[in-house]
């Protein structure tokens, strides 16, 4: 039941890391190739099924986090607050999450209302962030979700966003990928 030497080393490094670690840095740290590290990460991911831990990643940055099922106990221990968002804020968050990178004007065009307020709310809760400016007239900011967003919603990656069917039941795949 032992795991590969590289997986154990990667696990130890991720355990002490204060923030997500890129696969390249993991490779450098444990003295292995990025391909081997990729396999080690897959091994850990599988290993953590059914345990109190899981592997979370955004692009190629990785971190060990607690399993969402254990949230009540961990929140009790940490004295953490429950996240609460209004329907309006959730709608804006949904547009940003599934359509990122997205500008404020695009969010407003989809929701049909002014979104200044909800965008500020989501930014001050660190759920979304400005990614940079789009090369377009007016150079508007583009927004995307943050690492905290994945953590707050218990998603291991953006690919784990819930699949929601549109009313016709077919255009379900436009998330993220566009």
């Amino acid at each position: 039941m032992t795991r590969s030497v590289i997986a154990a080393a990667v696990e130890a490094v991720l355990f002490v890391a204060e923030k997500p670690v890129s696969r390249a840095e993991l490779a450098k740290t444990v003295g292995a190739g990025t391909k081997a590290v990729g396999e080690a990460l897959a091994e850990l991911d599988e290993w953590y099924q059914g345990t109190g831990l899981r592997l979370q990643h955004e692009d190629d940055d990785w971190q060990i986090v607690t399993a969402p099922e254990q949230a009540p106990f961990v929140a009790t221990y940490l004295g953490a607050d429950r996240l609460r968002l209004s329907t309006a804020a959730l709608e804006t968050l949904a547009v940003v999450a599934y359509r990122q990178p997205v500008t404020r004007a695009e969010v407003e065009s989809i929701r049909g209302v002014n979104c200044d307020q909800t965008i500020y709310t989501l930014m001050s809760r660190r759920l979304i962030a400005e990614l940079g400016r789009r090369e377009a007239p007016g150079s508007p900011f583009e927004y995307g979700t943050t690492w905290e967003f994945l953590e707050c919603f218990g998603l291991t990656s953006l690919g784990a966003l819930p699949t929601v069917l549109s009313p016709d039941g077919v255009r379900s795949d436009e998330a993220v990928t566009n």
Binding site: E18, A71, S86, I110, R111, G112, Q117, Y120, T121, S124
Partner: protein
């Protein structure tokens, strides 16, 4: 819960916005979003807008935009000769509005899915890495300064965001006013109805009121030339018993 100012998320009379209201009408009537002629919803849409007690001035224009498109779609279905101009055709088709509605419905579904996750509270937690014994080194003061700037900017924006425009008009009240005026004098111009230096909110509410009066056959609206004066006239009621 974060301490500090909490910006209100204003829902307009129970709706998150004009598309939300339109979607609600479709769902309430159990209509098929893909086939229902949207123009058929114009009357009900206007009625619901009229019933709203107070509309925040900064959201009224969005409601007006949807309302005017619905009225146009209805007019075309009643009068096939009212074919769209080439210009309108590009931006103002029923199909485009329908696609927006479908996309908004999808967004609402996604928001609900995220909301379910949020309410279930099944979130992950990371370690802050506090077990490290080595003395820290290699901090970058500029990175620290950047973090401070970010905190400052988030705090500041939240404070600004709390300001809410105070000016509000009621469509219902304005409709009553115009109806009374038109009962006394047979006609008026849009400009006189607006008065001197109207605010945007006042102009929009006045315009919605006119659309509503027009829908209820209280007034006729004419405009002799492009950008010309819009005339509002008391509608000549036909004798009872005669069909329209």
């Amino acid at each position: 819960m974060p301490v500090g100012p909490r910006p209100p998320d204003v829902a307009v009379a129970g709706f998150e916005g004009p598309l939300d209201l339109l979607l609600e009408l479709v769902e309430e009537k159990r209509l098929d979003i893909f086939t229902v002629p949207l123009g058929e919803l114009a009357d009900e849409y206007l009625a619901r807008v009229r019933a709203m007690d107070r509309l925040p001035a900064d959201e009224v224009s969005a409601f007006l935009y949807i309302a005017s498109r619905l009225v146009l779609l209805k007019a075309r279905s009643l009068l096939p000769s009212l074919s769209p101009t080439a210009e309108e055709d590009e931006v103002d088709t029923e199909e485009e509005l329908r696609l927006r509605l479908i996309e908004y419905a999808t967004t609402k579904g996604r928001a609900a899915a995220l909301g379910d996750r949020m309410r279930a509270g099944e979130r992950a937690f990371h370690r802050e890495g506090g077990t490290v014994e080595l003395p820290p080194k290699g901090g970058d003061p500029d990175v620290l300064a950047a973090a401070w700037l970010k905190v400052l900017s988030l705090t500041r924006r939240t404070e600004e965001a709390v300001e809410v425009p105070g000016e509000r008009y009621s469509v219902e009240q304005r409709t009553v006013e115009i109806e009374a005026l038109i009962a006394e004098q047979p006609s008026a111009t849009f400009a006189t109805l607006l008065g001197d230096r109207p605010t945007l909110g006042y102009a929009i509410v006045t315009f919605i009121a006119l659309l509503d009066l027009y829908r209820r056959l209280v007034i006729d609206i004419t405009q002799d030339e492009l950008f010309g004066e819009i005339r509002v006239e008391r509608k000549v009621r036909r004798m009872e018993g005669l069909s329209e």
